[in-house]
Symmetry: C2
Subunit: 333 residues, 2 copies
């Protein structure tokens, strides 16, 4: 097996975030579930945008953020996702390449515009997402470049890929290529409502050996196993997946394998400004660590360090070099 | 004279900022003068964008930022500026209206895209701007709505308006309408190189009574009077304009009138993240204060408070309510 060219290939919805501060009353008035992702159509996107406050735009998307975080740690990352030939697509492609991420997915020539997610940030730092998938609906198996998948130590996939119609075929093709090349496959559960939509399929992917490394947060895990008990969910997880990393908010993360569970504390932060990207950046650190054969607990520590950086400012990607922060924290990167 | 409907009407180039962190070496390699604004064409914009790092996008433009700041202080602001019918134009119009600023300038139907400025932020927080004017080149006298100008206590104009070909006629028309309606006219010198391009015209506007209130920073003032002596420049300014506010960076600001000069300290900040918008937001506070008949020194204090907020984060407009901050600081707003 040749040395991997990439620490990770991240595949997901390519989305420009439209980030605005708001208050809790606005979420209630708009009928939104705080802390979750809502899929919206073009009409709803227009109406919500007309009602929300002034915003900033930043390239986002869960797997895209994870790829950017791996690059910021000094890793080699690739990304596959679908953008359109428009201004937001130009922004997305620029940011990905300027971050040092390999990104060569053909753009959607005619059709829907580049995806955007209106992200409402409440004073507690929680983010509530409203995603118009646009061009992401066109991601399909043909976009999965075999050479790139084969060259990545880990292929990392969003649960959100179950939403666009053909993306799950892309997902399955990527996983098959990765395993045929002797590489690992990772899945993030993405969102509790996403899990609710595709619970049986996600459990199937875990139990049939498609997924080697699983990422989830508490609410996704509760949704997956339909239980209010974290311990029960962790025990079930230990049987369903060889390696899992469960983020538990301000408590940090729990690494679960067939050997048992280990807890890693969160990296302290002065103040939580915007939780957008927290889980994505945790995945950056953990995936990078696993790809470089770090101890799993150290990999999770790198994940909490990356997450702590991104929640200290508005926007879903690192504002400073994560490699620099990791070195200051004693990591030998 | 009827009560003004707006505290200020701000007229300027409507620009979406593309903000990226960089190091000083990049400025040197690209031949850029740190802390100033460079006008660039579409080709240079493309080339610079290809070389710069990942960015975020935020509505900007000097006068637009000032209008947003006045609205954030609880004031009534209007804005005139030219955008195109494109995605960045939609972003600009949204942000202006969502901030509560009256903005009704007809969009450019066919032609150049919405203006953008690539703003490079160095580790010291200084910003170096590279502006592609695009649709702003089409701003002309027909865009100056007489009713809006007449309804504003102060019409505030950018020196940058001297760059697009017909905007100076728009400027002159706005100033004439404002004075005919018994209102005040204010000018910001914008940038030392802008002053260098139009020194004689700016001095003419001050000396012929077109400008009632002038804004400048130290380097613009040095450029205007071609002197290295701040005292000499301030003395000249006192003779040339009834009321001026000169920002002097971390030192704060100096209010200059025929009665003499008064210094106001800067509002302390924990750390300077991004100086983009500092001068614009100082103008928000000062203009709002003057429009509400505050003492000039208090108006300048409100300006330094607004400037301190905007330099604490990436982006050219307030991230929190300036009215709330001003009340906490003891202002009766």
């Amino acid at each position: 097996m040749p040395e991997p060219e990439f620490d990770a290939l991240c595949i997901g919805n390519a989305i420009v975030d439209v980030l605005a501060r708001t208050d809790d009353d606005f979420l209630v008035a708009e009928g939104l579930h705080k802390g979750t992702m809502h899929l919206i159509d073009a009409e709803r996107a227009e109406s919500l945008y007309a009602h929300m406050g002034p915003a900033i735009e930043a390239s986002g998307g869960s797997a895209g953020n994870t790829a950017a975080g791996i690059a910021s740690l000094g890793g080699r990352a690739a990304f596959i996702g679908k953008i359109a030939n428009d201004a937001f697509g130009d922004v997305y492609a620029h940011d990905m390449r300027a971050t040092g991420v390999h990104f060569a997915t053909p753009r959607l020539a005619d059709g829907a515009p580049t995806a955007r997610s209106m992200i409402l940030i409440t004073p507690d730092g929680e983010r509530t997402m409203n995603t118009y998938l646009g061009a992401c609906q066109a991601l399909g198996p043909a976009d999965i470049d075999e050479a790139t998948v084969s060259a990545a130590a880990i292929t990392y996939l969003e649960g959100y890929l179950w939403d666009p119609p053909e993306a799950k075929q892309a997902f399955r093709r990527a996983a098959a290529i990765a395993h045929a090349a002797g590489r690992k496959v990772s899945l993030t559960l993405s969102d509790p409502f996403c899990v609710d939509r595709y619970r049986a399929e996600f459990l199937g992917l875990m139990r049939d050996g498609t997924v080697d490394i699983l990422f989830a947060n508490e609410s996704e895990l509760h949704s997956l196993y339909e239980t209010a008990s974290l311990d029960a969910a962790l025990a079930a997880l230990a049987g369903d997946c060889p390696l899992s990393a469960v983020t538990v908010g301000a408590e940090g993360a729990i690494v679960v394998s067939h050997d048992g569970a280990s807890k890693v504390s969160a990296t302290p932060v002065d103040s939580v400004v915007d939780l957008t990207g927290a889980g994505d950046l945790f995945a950056s650190g953990f995936l990078f660590g696993v790809a470089r054969d770090m101890d799993h607990v150290d990999a999770a520590r790198l994940g909490t360090l990356a997450a702590a950086e991104v929640i200290g400012h508005i926007g879903p990607r690192p504002a400073v070099s994560l490699r620099g922060l990791a070195r200051e924290a004693g990591f030998d990167l």
